[in-house]
């Protein structure tokens, strides 16, 4: 027991897995039978999208105070609309469609960075202003357009192998790569150094501006790719599909034990907290909570977790 406590203290991400497991166990016990396994499988499916955008947001937040990407929801929507239009429901156009979405991500990232750099404004304002433009483009392009995703894209977004969603396997592999990127590469260490002390990082020869540019682009590209698969998963794009990802992308980073002040992040926690966020809503659904009550409890639990996590940081 002592060892477990030590482990959890040293690895802040373990809390999110514990929370996810407890929520799952309570819900599974309530529905009984094989429902628990089905629930775990569904949770894996849905949480992959949270993980994709969460990793991008995590890199941005690691850059330090004031660095948050508010343009993620609108980028998801725009890239979903654009990629569905390019693919036009045909399997042959899937690759061009994904490339178009990545192109959208690169442009949004470049625009965000350009605003931060040229106008010398806080990133939060820059990404908010650009999200206005991106959202508007998505609305103008996508209004009244309902294109079904190509069959192959739909398959890869929804297929399951022995109950395990294929997409989640891909995202787990991707998350491992991202964890290596964060902890073992010059880029990742530079991002962390940037967040801990920008001045010191600059004096140590970290190419500050290039790191910042790459990070905002990474976040936007991940949001764009998430948009493509989300459209594949939910049978096409819709104009409010990105909405819930503003809270989700920030919440998974914070609940996952990364420091909101930057400079100290981890990838596994994003997985744990993405599962937790989904299972939480699933649990409230199973208990038959009304829509309003579900919203209230979700909000209160997020505030509660942040309060608790903030306290841990203080005691260290």
């Amino acid at each position: 027991m002592k060892q477990l406590e030590m482990f959890m203290r040293q690895h802040p991400w373990s809390w999110s897995f514990l929370a996810a497991f407890l929520t799952w166990a309570v819900t599974a016990a309530y529905i009984s039978g094989t429902g628990g396994l089905a629930l775990a499988s569904t949770a894996l499916s849905f949480s992959t999208f949270f993980v994709m955008v969460g990793i991008g947001q995590m890199f941005v937040i690691t850059l330090g105070p004031g660095n948050v990407d508010l343009s993620i929801p609108s980028t998801i929507t725009l890239s979903a609309v654009v990629s569905m239009m390019v693919m036009d429901g045909t399997n042959a156009m899937i690759l061009p469609g994904i490339l178009a979405a990545v192109g959208v991500g690169v442009l949004v990232g470049l625009f965000n960075y350009g605003l931060i750099r040229v106008l010398t404004i806080p990133p939060i304002i820059a990404t908010m202003s650009s999200s206005f433009l991106v959202q508007s483009s998505a609305i103008a392009l996508g209004r009244g357009v309902k294109i079904k995703p190509p069959a192959a894209l739909e398959w890869i977004s929804t297929a399951k192998m022995l109950g395990v969603p294929v997409l989640s396997l891909l995202v787990i592999a991707f998350a491992i790569v991202m964890a290596v990127l964060l902890n073992r590469t010059v880029y990742g260490r530079s991002v962390t150094a940037f967040g801990q002390n920008t001045r010191a990082a600059r004096l140590a020869g970290v190419p500050i501006e290039r790191i910042r540019y790459l990070t905002y682009t990474l976040s936007a590209v991940l949001a764009a790719v998430c948009g493509v698969f989300l459209a594949g998963f939910s049978g096409g794009s819709s104009l409010n599909m990105g909405e819930e990802y503003l809270l989700a992308s920030i919440a998974v980073v914070v609940i996952g034990g990364s420091s909101i002040a930057g400079g100290n992040s981890n990838v596994p926690g994003i997985f744990g907290s993405a599962l937790f966020l989904f299972l939480l809503v699933a649990m409230l659904n199973t208990f038959g909570a009304a829509a309003g009550l579900r919203l209230i409890l979700t909000g209160l639990i997020i505030v509660g977790v942040v309060t608790f996590a903030g306290g841990r940081k203080e005691s260290r």
Partner: protein, 315 residues
């Protein structure tokens, strides 16, 4: 600095930018539609700017202490729902609920300060709580605004339309309270230098709680004005106010850190954003581009400010 020198200074131009951008958009509207240049036209143009201006002022109080409120939109929606239901049917319960909201806001301020929490995450969480309450209270759009609010927001004073009177009064009252009283200096000091305020013997906790409570008060005013204008409410009625209010504060010359804010600018900023939306419809451009145009105005004004700052640095 005196005489003409002041008018060439960067400080003058920074301060004048919000007013200039509003004038610019307003002239554009008048040019496209000269009939807007009347009592009735102005009333119509700026009617919906009043609740947005109130929400922007609410947001400004939080920004003044270096925080950000991502829940103001859902809070204003909840207030509108309370206004259209409880406040109309059982006024005492309605008033109690609104007072409760103010207490909750003050408590959030205290929580954020004591635990040193990121305001973005806490208020994002709270936005779910407010939305949830609004959905419970009013699951489907409806309700009706109390008559006294309706007659208050549709007042027709002589010569000057009500929305303009409201905007001027709002800007002047908040400007006086925050920029011209010692109490206001303390409040802005929390954003400027928290340590200095603490060492001078003031309780930052109490100051932060007051600022958050004031945010709630102005959020309530925004919600009640909105429900008076719309006559009924729904749980999503003001969700876009969250981003609009931040944009309004920034457009008005407020900054994210250091307690640098401008109440007059914030009101002008909110009016500019509202007007930009109607400017598009006068141009017969699809309303799909409304948010985009608001974003563009924000970026242009920020770019102009960056130019002014750069010129100042060169001197």
């Amino acid at each position: 600095m005196s005489g003409l020198g002041f008018f060439a200074s960067a400080r003058f131009w920074r301060g004048a930018l919000p007013a200039l951008s509003l004038t610019f958009v307003l002239l554009g509207v008048f040019w496209l539609q000269p009939r807007a240049m009347s009592y009735f036209g102005l009333n119509l143009l700026f009617n919906l700017a009043v609740p947005i201006a109130l929400a922007t002022i609410a947001q400004m109080f939080v920004i003044a202490v270096n925080d950000l409120d991502l829940s103001i939109g859902s809070f204003v929606s909840l207030v509108a729902c309370i206004g259209a239901t409880w406040l109309n049917e059982t006024p005492l319960l309605g008033i109690a609920a609104l007072l409760g909201c103010i207490a909750v806001y003050a408590a959030i301020g205290a929580l954020i300060y004591i635990r040193q929490l990121p305001s973005i995450v806490v208020t994002l969480g709270m936005s779910f709580v407010w939305s949830g309450c609004a959905v419970l209270l009013l699951p489907t759009p409806g309700g009706s605004a109390p008559d006294w609010i309706r007659s208050l927001v549709t007042l027709k004073p002589p010569y000057v339309p009500m929305p303009l009177v409201a905007a001027v009064v709002l800007a002047l009252v908040v400007h006086f309270a925050l920029m011209r009283t010692s109490w206001g200096v303390l409040m802005r000091g929390v954003g400027g230098n928290e340590k200095a305020i603490t060492r001078a013997g003031w309780s930052v906790l109490k100051l932060k709680m007051t600022m958050y409570a004031l945010t709630a008060v102005f959020g309530i005013l925004a919600g009640l004005t909105l429900v008076g204008l719309a006559t009924s409410a729904d749980a999503n009625i003001a969700l876009r106010y969250t981003l609009l209010s931040i944009a309004g504060v920034i457009l008005g010359g407020g900054e994210f850190v250091g307690g640098r804010i401008s109440p007059v600018g914030a009101v002008l900023g909110a009016m500019t954003l509202t007007l930009t939306a109607s400017f598009l419809s006068f141009l017969r451009i699809s309303p799909d581009w409304q948010i985009g145009a608001q974003g563009a105005v924000l970026i242009i004004v920020l770019a102009l400010r960056a130019i002014v700052n750069r010129l100042e640095a060169r001197k």
